[in-house]
Symmetry: C2
Amino acid sequence: MPSGSESRRVTIHDVARAAGVSRQTVSRALNDKGEIDHSTKQRVLDAALALGYRPSRFARGLVRQDTISVGLVIPDLLNPFFTEVAAAALEAARAHGWHVVVYDTADSGEEELGTLQVLTSQVDAVVGYFSRPEAEIEQLTRGLPVVLIDRGDDTERFSSIRIDGRDGVRAAISHLVESGHRRIGMLDHAARAEPSVRHAWFADAMTACGLGGGRVCRAEQSVEGGESALESLLAQHPDVTAVFTFNDIIAIGALRAARRLGREVPRDLAVIGFDGVRLGTLVEPQLSSVALDIRKLGALAVEQTARLLTRNSPLDPDQLVARADLRLRASA
Amino acid sequence: MPSGSESRRVTIHDVARAAGVSRQTVSRALNDKGEIDHSTKQRVLDAALALGYRPSRFARGLVRQDTISVGLVIPDLLNPFFTEVAAAALEAARAHGWHVVVYDTADSGEEELGTLQVLTSQVDAVVGYFSRPEAEIEQLTRGLPVVLIDRGDDTERFSSIRIDGRDGVRAAISHLVESGHRRIGMLDHAARAEPSVRHAWFADAMTACGLGGGRVCRAEQSVEGGESALESLLAQHPDVTAVFTFNDIIAIGALRAARRLGREVPRDLAVIGFDGVRLGTLVEPQLSSVALDIRKLGALAVEQTARLLTRNSPLDPDQLVARADLRLRASA
DNA sequence: TTGAAAGCGATACCAT
DNA sequence: ATGGTATCGCTTTCAA
């Protein structure tokens, strides 16, 4: 068996002893305070280096109540949309000098719970995506500032950054109709039992355009999910000439499936996604999308967190909204 | 002006007083220890809830020396390769029960320094990408376990996960040659002054195939960088029929530029990238690449960190290697 | 310039 | 079942 490390932690005390000074003097030397003799300081620094001393972040945090850490909870970092949200949040948090602890819940409710469990004792605030009931989250976070992102409409207890794509989706459908499309389908997400809010916007827009409910298929939130969903949709409704999707990743799947099925986009099938991820500009044809300002979304979430943290006039719900607007590219 | 929060922190002491018990009893109630009367426990819990009490993570960390946090330093989270590395590291870290604090250095040496500065007092180990000189990193991390990823060859002081793509690149070039290509170019990265290690592999492979040095252009690590680099390359050497690129993101830029220039891939121009990011399967045509097992890369980095952390037989350099192998798809 | 002592907020150990 | 006391490692305050 390997010879275990039975080495006790090197503390400030050890350094003090080695340098022949008191602990306070060590503290002074290490923290670049004035009021210390240059040679003493050097001696302390040498001793610290020699012993491999590192201050305990806990002990230090205990006395100097500064450093703030926030937990960022993301369902799936590999989903480009969430990647962008994370990057945006990271950037905004850095401006505040915060440390961001990132958790990927792997799109699983259980992981979410486990994450929440360990997370809460490690951070000063929580930002991110949660699918569990509010009561559950509340119980686990007990008093921690929490900012949810894109949490449907059931957000009573927590601040939530809402996404408002109603007008954007309306514009998307209008555009399709003006382009001559009549049989328009939607690829909704499949995560929950009920249709998504985005589906509701879609349905409203269809109605507003004098069209029926539209054909809907459910899709997993992945490229593959989008592919098979489009296949199902077209199998059931071969006459569909345009699709709106829950998000861009699904749309990109639809693009691929269309190609495979020999439908040229946008000639034989128009596709409009939702989110406006960068990835949409890399595929061929470039993806039209009801696009969010994702950086602003992240900044908003962080801003609200900051206000909650300082108990300083939190933004109210109608300021916590990120609008999504139609951004036309090549796919529709 | 907003009425500032002058509220002192609620401590275990306050809860104890409110519940009419001692602090220890509060601790018991909150940590689900046995040896406590049910009604007492309930009373304590109620008091805690009422006061909005949250244990100090610092105080707790000080006495229970468990929770481990590692800092993950990434140059640019929006670069799909780094996204994948981050996701892989996150996953591996979760298995250890670690918390991962993520820092995006925005590809800037200065940010890197700033990050290192604040980071070191917040984590128990550091993993990631660094471009600064080792001596500088060492000075800033002083004794913290550090695991570098893909740090060229100048890695004396730290553990580093090396990427070995020599054979993979050789295979790539051989494949091109066998497909009839003779004039092969490379789009190297432009971050540093010297050519990259990957360029050296390229040059060696070219030599081994009896071809000259090949035409090289520098590219920024972005799709746009790849686009303009390919344009330059073809402007200077219109006779080039195949390119190998520093990484996939640049290759994808090359793909786009080729399309714009009316060169069909792979017929008029073969393209092979490096990294093997998922994104490569989403573009058209799908990207051939000298591909890494990125999850393994992340797992390896975390594994070594764990060993360093426990001072438990760290892996030696030749075990810290991620091989990259040719993965042929449609672009070559 | 330096040191002694008093916290910071929790948990562990040992009494009771 | 509950409370007293020591302790974790550091910084701050105040004397010397």
